[in-house]
Subunit: 460 residues, 2 copies
């Protein structure tokens, strides 16, 4: 790694003052993300204004120094790791909620606001912002935007991209652009704001977002459906999604996930579940019972073993706690984990899960599947011992086959985690050459010198 | 207009056979759209396969001849008028529904399928595709995609852009690209498919679309709320949109629109209405009464004159018929009409309508407002005598002021009609120079030689 040019260092120090850090301990703090990969940046910037971001990008562009936007680093793909060095721009100081307009169902925020803090501020207005990744309490809105974060509620309320009205951003040329309008409809020019969502900091740095809000439902109720096998559960998912009452969550666990939720997570679950669906509806007190009835009718069918209405909040919470504990509890099976979040059309879930279990046998490694079935978005967790070279190699070979299987079923590499470093090499399998070339051309239009988050999302 | 190069003519004749037309009567048929503007193309192509579209674009690119995609020409902005000559590509022969997958809530179609034909095919599956422009019976899905068409249902179900999963398209370089995946969630690379929606044929020609479907509600019910004045009605709109039951339609009429609906459209409406809201909810028989109650509570408030539940379908249909007849009935006021579809945040509707009425007085011209209030998307109809030069000039000056007013209220030029030729000159007021430059760079990435629908959307 080459050190920053001295002139750039002093220029940015005078631009950012206390928000410019070059000592190694600070740089180490911003070297990694939740992917457990790491690379030391040359400096860390903590801007407080959009003008500072513009100045920083222009200065870095002139010196051809990489600029890596960062929220709170909760992403799992390495998208925030500065693999080519350069300046990490952490938005932790641009964390103001600028406006909440309940009548317009709109909130205007800086990118560093935590998702959880925003939800708390919206609560008194009877509104919420739908994206609810597991990290919601400590991930930033800017990070959610960069990754197009989802979560269980996406089945009813959409992912991040579906819940944004307008963005203000700084491109790779240091130009401040205004994309979209704070209206729920628009047909004025190209839709640049949805293009920026999910672009992982490779096209522009978002400095302000107008978010689309949804009125909070008054109440919710959960069902727990246990099926003889995966295929029966998957057919229930298709039935649930083909009728008019869209569940507010529709989560799937395979038999291994159920076992872990019971043995490690402490959930009260039977020993013989072939698969489990957690089905939730939300609404008001009058309509909810009818919606739950409709969901119960759709959940019922061939292979259903039991269907319970978790009527009280404590039972519901306990089941969700076990679901949330699944990810960490996987480490009890093996210390190494590859967690991918492939997505397929809902009707293809049985083939995906069956195929993954066949790969588990072929490669002699545990693979546990659970996730957001209503979107066909499954977390495929491949477990192995990282110190065992043969196991590591098998794990990575098996994951490549999981991707190939997903693509053969009309699905794609990622439903909500993104590409980052982790899946970049698989992009040419998922996206054909002319389309990848088009993405590269779009990248060049926003960032002609390639300074924004180099080495991410698009393959070399 | 220069005639087509002879070599191009013969190349495309052999590529398209009977689907290549150069006689003047055929060219005249494709010279105009619903904007009433017209310009003669040099030729008309009626492709039946994507391979023909690829071949055509490549040949036209080599000869630097414009290519103008066309659905059924129902748009009102001139977006399909070949102002620079060239080849109009009408997708009327690529009109197959390729697949309907109810469990995936997905339909795969060619662009020439009529919206109405698609809805009829979906009905037996209990599904529908949400975009419902007034032209739905005779406009094509490809045209809906090109314009990001909306309609009254968009308030609950979103506009076209919100209801697309994947697109296959031919860029200005004649490359076939595949954008998006037929899954309801995705975080794999840049979101090119939403960028193509609403781009009015200036970035690529869509040759296949995977559409996101929604289960059909079992029933619907409508309310008619009459208010003392526009401000009371607009405040009711904000209340209606801030509570959890989202109406399936929320339409607004100002006093002049109510009068026209009564006197010309034959609707049973009072003489003293200051403003009217048509509020509709859909759902199943059990939940609908509760939803209607919630909407009635929200509609009630300061300035409400009457609130009627159009319980029977005949009453409901009669009111909608009067609403749909509004646009043609405007011609009874004056033969010339400028119909714009500006959009503002919902809370700004009172200022917009008050401001428009002030402009009506200032310019001494009738202006009638109605439209999709739940999205803040109002159709502002400016009426004048086109043969009267002074009136024409005043009408155009007033419309420029309507746009300026809209922008000052945080809104934008178009909610669902698009830009085309009609609003192109106003784009620099709506979109700042760096953002317009970014849009031009995106255009250049897709269409480096500028052959796709030149003279549209972006200003010179």
């Amino acid at each position: 790694m080459t050190p920053l040019p001295t002139t750039l260092d002093s220029e940015l120090r005078s631009l950012l003052g206390d928000g410019w850090r070059t000592d190694e301990s600070e740089r180490l703090t911003y070297a990694f993300d939740n992917s457990r990969r790491q690379a030391l940046p040359d400096a860390v910037a903590l801007p407080t204004t959009r003008e500072q971001v513009v100045g920083l990008v222009r200065a870095c562009r002139a010196a051809r120094v990489p600029v890596i936007a960062r929220g709170r680093g909760t992403n799992t793909t390495g998208a925030a790791v500065p693999v080519a060095g350069g300046v990490v721009v952490s938005f932790e100081r641009m964390n103001r909620i600028l406006d909440i307009r309940p009548g317009d169902r709109c909130a205007v925020v800086e990118p560093g606001v935590l998702n959880g803090d925003l939800q708390a501020a919206l609560k008194p207005h009877g509104l919420f912002w739908p994206p609810d990744p597991t990290s919601a309490g400590y991930s930033s809105v800017g990070g959610n935007l960069a990754c197009n974060a989802g979560g269980p509620r996406a089945v009813k309320y959409g992912a991040t991209r579906d819940n944004v009205l307008a963005l203000t951003a700084v491109t790779g040329t240091g130009d401040l652009i205004h994309c979209g309008t704070a209206t729920t409809k628009g047909a004025t020019g190209y839709d640049l704001q949805r293009l920026l969502v999910g672009s992982e900091g490779t096209l522009a740095l978002i400095v302000e977002a107008s978010l689309r809000l949804t009125p909070s439902p008054q109440s919710r109720r959960a069902l727990r459906a246990i099926y003889r096998d995966v295929s029966s559960a998957a057919q229930a998912v298709a039935r649930l999604m083909a009728q008019p009452v869209t569940p507010s969550m529709l989560e799937f666990m395979d038999a291994d996930a159920v076992r872990l939720a019971r043995d490690v997570g402490g959930a009260d679950l039977p020993r013989d579940a072939g698969a489990l669906l957690m089905i939730e509806a939300d609404g008001d007190a009058q309509t909810l019972p009818h919606d739950i009835e409709a969901l119960m009718r759709a959940a019922d069918g061939e292979g259903l073993v039991s269907l319970d209405d978790a009527a009280d909040e404590a039972t519901r919470e306990k089941l969700w706690a076990a679901r949330k504990a699944l990810s960490p509890s996987l480490r009890t099976l093996a210390p190494g984990k590859i967690n991918e979040d492939v997505v397929v059309p809902v009707s293809r879930i049985p083939q995906l899960v069956d195929g993954v279990h066949a790969l588990s046998r072929e490669f002699d490694l545990p693979i546990v599947c659970f996730g957001h079935a209503g979107n066909g978005n499954l977390h495929v967790n491949l477990l192995y011992h990282p110190d065992d070279d043969a196991q590591s190699a098998r794990a990575h070979a098996a994951m490549a086959r999981v991707f190939a299987l997903t693509l053969s079923l009309g699905g794609t590499l990622s439903g909500e985690h993104g590409i980052g470093l982790a899946k970049r090499e698989f992009m040419p399998q998922a996206i054909d050459a002319p389309t990848l070339a088009m993405m590269r051309a779009v990248k060049a239009a926003f960032d002609p010198d390639g300074i924004l988050n180099p080495g991410k999302l698009l393959p070399d």
